[in-house]
């Protein structure tokens, strides 16, 4: 079943004149794609290609100049229609420093007016899976970078949205931690069949995690390729060494023109 349909979405920033100079930046042009329920869609492209703009358009933080967004067959024209419908996880670490891990991860439920006690209970049960067991009362500043990202992911998971929008969640981590979190996310994926849009600039990561991959051109961002990643599950750290993986990677790099 198709969960999300993005139809000819375009966005130009800085339209209008400021102090006489017209500085317009075309961020994304004519984005059209569909996302099936339970699909893990990775989006890759050079930096500044408008990948993040796509997520911000979906999350209701930016309004498109043209095009439409349909979720579950329902058109969402206004930003306020889209806010609270997508589990958006911004690129930068956004845990609230004045809340403990537990109080951070229930934020989505709390803002939506749900039961905080029920959310806490659910969070406690998920803490071990997210590698946060015993850290529920810690301040975020006492956690490692990898743990902070897992806590932010748990917050996004718990909020109970239909689609998660993850903007380079592992981008700021060191290579080793990133590897570990990729493996961990593959494991978590087998337990929750969430629909995920996952932005990355790492081809290996995009192919290892995704069911499908969209390739963006340099700015202004257009979709230049829509590749199915038919690697068998379960995948692990050796998957990236398989001939099938390398063939997919060669193809992806050709589309990225790297």
């Amino acid at each position: 079943m198709t969960l999300l349909t993005v139809d000819s979405l375009s966005k130009t920033f800085g339209s209008g004149s400021r102090r006489g100079t017209h500085s317009e930046v075309e961020a994304v042009i004519d984005l059209t794609f569909k996302v099936e329920e339970g699909e893990f869609l990775t989006i890759i492209g050079p930096s500044g290609c408008g990948k993040s703009t796509l997520l911000r358009l979906l999350a209701g933080l930016v309004q498109p100049d043209s095009g439409q967004i349909h979720l579950k067959g329902q058109t969402l024209p206004d930003p306020s229609d889209r806010q609270g419908r997508f589990g958006f996880m911004p690129q930068r670490d956004t845990l609230l420093p004045w809340r403990t891990v537990l109080e951070n991860v229930i934020l989505g439920v709390e803002l939506a007016g749900g039961s905080r006690d029920a959310a806490r209970e659910e969070a406690r049960q998920l803490l071990p899976l997210f590698g946060l067991d015993g850290f529920e009362n810690n301040w975020p500043s006492t956690l490692s970078g990898g743990m902070r990202q897992r806590a932010a992911l748990l917050r996004t998971f718990l909020a109970g949205y239909d689609i998660l929008l993850l903007d380079e969640p592992f981008g700021a981590l060191d290579a080793l931690t990133r590897r570990m979190l990729q493996q961990w996310l593959l494991g978590v994926r087998t337990r929750f069949s969430k629909t995920i849009l996952f932005i990355t600039h790492d081809v290996d990561e995009a192919l290892l995690l995704g069911d499908r991959m969209l390739v963006f051109s340099p700015r202004p961002g257009r979709i230049t390729a829509d590749l199915k990643i038919d690697l068998p599950h379960p995948r692990d750290e050796n998957t990236i060494l398989e001939p099938e993986f390398l063939a997919l990677k060669r193809n992806a790099l050709a589309h990225l023109k790297l």
Partner: protein
């Protein structure tokens, strides 16, 4: 851990007092020009029965003054934050207003508001308002836009964004302002009393000075300092109590 940190300045203070005591003794400085620390202590002991009422009056002015400065300062900061236009118009004026010597205003306040508590409270408020308003305003502008984006994407309402992000994010700035204000406040009340009052540390200083009771002036100065330190520590304790995460962060970060 904290003891050695305080030990060194304490020793320096004691040495300083000893040199002072000795210098006054050796040079035979008249008591009405510069009393020795022992004479100041004596003056404090002799006037201790009087001081309760004076300290009480001054601290009452301080409490009301800080209270008014808190309400107006935070309100002004919030209003400036809500309206960018007002911010552009008012923020520079706020800074310029600080160049007006409050000391010079005190006699005018007596003319306008009489000899009651009002002019003293106003002086305290004038001293305390600025650091609270400016720091809170800076704190509100410092909220990370990513956090606000996150909240908006979660469908948060405007009051939720204020209560759960903007105010907590501004709290460390607010407390820096409040600590500065608390330190200024007692001196502000004393200045207000200099111009005319029936009771308070300021008028006690003025009367002692007119009677050449210099040791009593010093005693009042020391009490004023101690009260300021006490207020500062009180704010610091409240800060620690309400923002445990902030101190954990500063200790934990390498």
């Amino acid at each position: 851990m904290g003891t050695p940190k305080l030990l060194v300045p304490a020793v320096v203070l004691i040495v300083f007092a000893a040199i002072w005591e000795l210098a006054v003794l050796v040079l035979a400085v008249p008591k009405w020009i510069l009393p020795a620390p022992s004479a100041i202590w004596q003056a404090f002991w002799d006037t201790r029965a009087l001081m309760g009422a004076h300290v009480g009056q001054t601290m009452l002015e301080v409490a009301i003054g800080i209270g008014v400065a808190l309400m107006t300062g935070v309100t002004v900061a919030a209003v400036l934050d809500i309206s960018p236009w007002l911010r552009r118009a008012v923020y520079p004026l706020l800074v310029i207003s600080q160049t007006v010597p409050i000391l010079a205003l005190a006699p005018l306040l007596i003319i306008w508001f009489g000899f009651g508590i009002a002019p003293k409270v106003i002086v305290v408020t004038l001293f305390c308002f600025f650091p609270i308003a400016i720091n809170t305003s800076d704190g509100l502008t410092s909220t990370e836009p990513e956090l606000i984006d996150l909240f908006r994407s979660m469908g948060a309402t405007w009051p939720q964004i204020w209560m759960k992000v903007r105010l907590p994010a501004a709290a460390p700035y607010f407390y820096s302002g409040l600590k500065i204000a608390a330190t200024y406040s007692v001196a502000g009340a004393v200045v207000g009393e200099w111009v005319g009052a029936k009771q308070g540390l300021g008028i006690f200083m003025l009367r002692s000075s007119a009677a050449f009771q210099t040791a009593q002036v010093f005693s009042a100065i020391v009490i004023t300092s101690l009260l300021s330190i006490l207020l500062f520590l009180t704010v610091f304790a409240i800060e620690r109590g309400t923002m445990p995460w902030y101190f954990e962060e500063r200790n934990g970060s390498s």
